[in-house]
């Protein structure tokens, strides 16, 4: 307890900009809620939307595995057969593409919303970093999905990807350490075409495993957030996906068989999945790798710029009886019951509450639940804590306690 109130270390222009963005997002949510209704507002359910789109991508992907063969000779033919001769094959392929595109859109909006409304500081910084680990992985999965048909566009994108991966080797000083070769080794150190395709395939399918695992970790801290879409939004999402897939069907004309002797045709890169590739013709591989790394580090560093406004709860070792009331009430799992520090009390099985600083949202619920006055939020007056608890109760009646509480904190 060095300082009771820690001021934000960068209160200036950045914070004002962020808060104005946050106001815009809140306004958007407000008007969208009038249209969609409070409980089924997709602008407030961006995370659940991402989970749903990942489910759609996984199911359509497994359906496509029934017909795709990852060998250089047969890949294009198998995709063509899937499009032309398999019942609903073209629809499944279009759905896979569309859900991946919508996934990227909703991930970017989710990122923007949680940044603008300040939901990345304090206890949420862990979720922020895990989400940022999943973001480039999903981009790479999208890129490998375009390489998998092993057609002309796939070959061009493969070459671009290789240049970006080996790009760090061209950097001025760090390039001496050959970081790009280390990054590119697991994917590109192959002697023949068949192995290269299998590596890309393993990246696409195995990367999906890792991405799902990361998203599960991202959802996890504290209590389970709203990861489940209401039925109405599911139906709307399915209709949207079907309409887009029907309006922009995938044609076989996209699949030009690779001709090593001809000039590559104009390659239409899909704008959304792995959108940084759009900048490849402008910047080249080396500088683009640098830019991607810079943006990523900047985003991952953001939680450092803001500290929590209200310090975490504090337990009095003398007054705490180890009853566990606060442990049972804490909605964030931020309280642990530990053996008491005093050896005599410990030998009798006496416990004490301990605040896990990384998880504490300073919501004040534990202060209200303690019957012995042993836990408090030192920076807040009693009235403030009471109003917070009342707000939490009200929010619990209305929707869920967690969302509103965390909005009140950061």
């Amino acid at each position: 307890m060095k300082r009771l109130v820690v001021k934000s270390s960068r209160p200036g222009r950045y914070l004002r900009f962020r808060e104005s963005c946050g106001r815009c997002v809140s306004l958007l949510e407000f008007y969208a809620a009038r249209f969609f209704g409070e409980t089924s507002n997709p602008f407030a359910l961006t995370g659940a939307l991402i989970v749903a789109l990942m489910v759609v991508s996984a199911i359509t992907g497994i359906a496509m595995l029934l017909h795709y063969t990852p060998t250089p000779e047969t890949a294009v033919q198998s995709v063509r057969r899937l499009t032309d001769h398999v019942y609903l094959g073209s629809l499944v392929r279009a759905l896979h593409r569309t859900s991946a595109d919508l996934l990227v859109i909703s991930i970017l909006f989710h990122l923007f919303r949680n940044w603008a409304t300040g939901r990345y500081t304090g206890p949420r910084s862990r979720n922020w970093v895990i989400g940022l680990l999943a973001l480039p992985l999903i981009g790479i999965i999208g890129w490998s999905g375009y390489v998998l048909p092993w057609d002309e566009r796939g070959m061009v994108l493969l070459a671009w990807g290789r240049e970006i991966a080996y790009g760090p080797d061209q950097w001025p000083i760090l390039g001496w350490l050959r970081p790009g070769s280390i990054i590119g080794w697991p994917l590109f150190s192959v002697s023949n075409e068949a192995d290269q395709l299998l590596r890309i395939f393993a990246l696409h399918v195995g990367g999906a495993f890792v991405a799902i695992w990361l998203v599960l970790r991202h959802l996890r801290p504290g209590t389970p957030p709203r990861a489940r879409l209401p039925l109405a939004v599911w139906i709307g999402l399915a209709l949207l996906l079907l309409v887009i897939a029907a309006m922009l069907p995938l044609e076989n004309e996209d699949l030009l068989t690779f001709n090593p002797f001809g000039q590559p045709a104009t390659v239409r890169v899909d704008a959304l999945v792995s959108f940084p590739l759009l900048f490849y013709p402008i910047f080249g591989g080396s500088f683009l790798a640098f830019l991607i790394l810079l943006v990523w580090i900047g985003l991952a560093w953001l939680p450092r710029f803001e500290r929590r406004k209200v310090p975490a709860a504090v337990v009095s070792e003398i007054a705490c009886t180890g009853c566990g009331l606060c442990y049972n009430d804490c909605p964030y799992g931020a309280i642990a019951m530990m053996p008491h520090r005093d050896p005599l009390k410990r030998s009798r099985g006496r416990e004490i509450a301990k605040i896990l600083l990384r998880s504490c949202n300073s919501c004040g619920i534990c202060v209200g639940s303690c019957s012995f006055g042993a836990i408090e939020l030192p920076a807040l007056m009693t009235g403030e804590i009471l109003s917070r608890i009342e707000g939490a109760l009200r929010a619990d009646r209305e929707t869920t306690a967690k969302e509103h509480l965390s909005e009140g904190v950061v």
């Binding site: 029934l66 299998l198 393993a202 399918v205 799902i212 599960l216 442990y327 019951m337």
Partner: protein, 375 residues
Amino acid sequence: MEACDLFDGMAAFERKRSGLGAGSTSADFLGQALWVTLAAVVVSGIGLLAGYTPTTARSFPSVEYIQLSFPLGWWLRGVHKFGTDLFVILAILRLIRLAYRRAYKFGGEFTWQAAVRLLLFGVFAGVTGYLLVWNQRAFWMGGSLAEAAESGGIFEQVYPLGGLGLSEWIPKGPLGDAAMSQGVLRGVFAAHIALGFLAMLAAFYLRTYPRKEVPHWRRYSNYVAPRVQWLVIGALTILALILPPPLGSHSDTLLKPYPILADWYFLWLYRLAEIVTPAVALTIVGLIFLIAMYLPWLDGSRRKGPRPVVTALIAASLITWMMLTLEGAGWELPNLASLVLTTLVWIIALVLGAFAENWRASGRGKKGDEEVRSP
């Protein structure tokens, strides 16, 4: 040794909580080992994807290539194969422990269901994985699966609309028998990967939302002791070194394979299908699965004590399972009557033992059965 405290995962945990057992950190060996094993299987599976080609012509050569010349391929393949076996063993042991500790009630209902699902996904992922090697054993097993699905035709006659037209889904060869084609291989491959996803989700549910029976359990639910990790990975590596997973020979559709043994966890099913008809065996399997899934609700007692009937039933079914497995593996047991008799004797013994346990627990007072700590 506390790390191997298989059937009383809570004991070490409670000692640590009360501060008496200094340095004991392992609360739940089985759960941790299950989690590490699944992680090892999934990671080695991703590695195997980089070398495996799911086509009839190239899958067997690609598995050979993985085993012999892919970087660390022998290790990946060994960990994947023996990891699945270990996974099934651990999942069964964990289910037995959950039942023995009556942890499928009082907040543990969905944990129990997730554990049952995990076992199911693991077993089916194992079967589909054996088919992917595309050797004679895979050919034989595919034929057996196709026969089982064909017997689904009988199943459909017994139960109208029950089999969902399963027999029509099996691709037919020129002579009308079930054919092992490219389509079957790709379907099995897709199913294998889908089962991997499902197993991962079920295991994550099990680790993330553990039962609420014991307060403060949540704190330890994500913990994996390093020694458990090293034990599992080390054991799998040693197994992969001294017992390379068998390759067999390339699947030859002209050479009808001599009956090869299935996975050890399916031997009981083959034996059961021999004793009764395949359709009845499938019905029994479905019933077992349904009962297992809804056991927490079938066992309606609200009493927090030992559950002698359920414990005895589970033990008896376990004994029956072991005996059928031994018979399926070729052991000569006298006959079915002796099997039933033995099982009955065991059930009676277990019921008596469980009642004795119940009596002992009630004599000691309720302290051991109530929640571990009360405010």
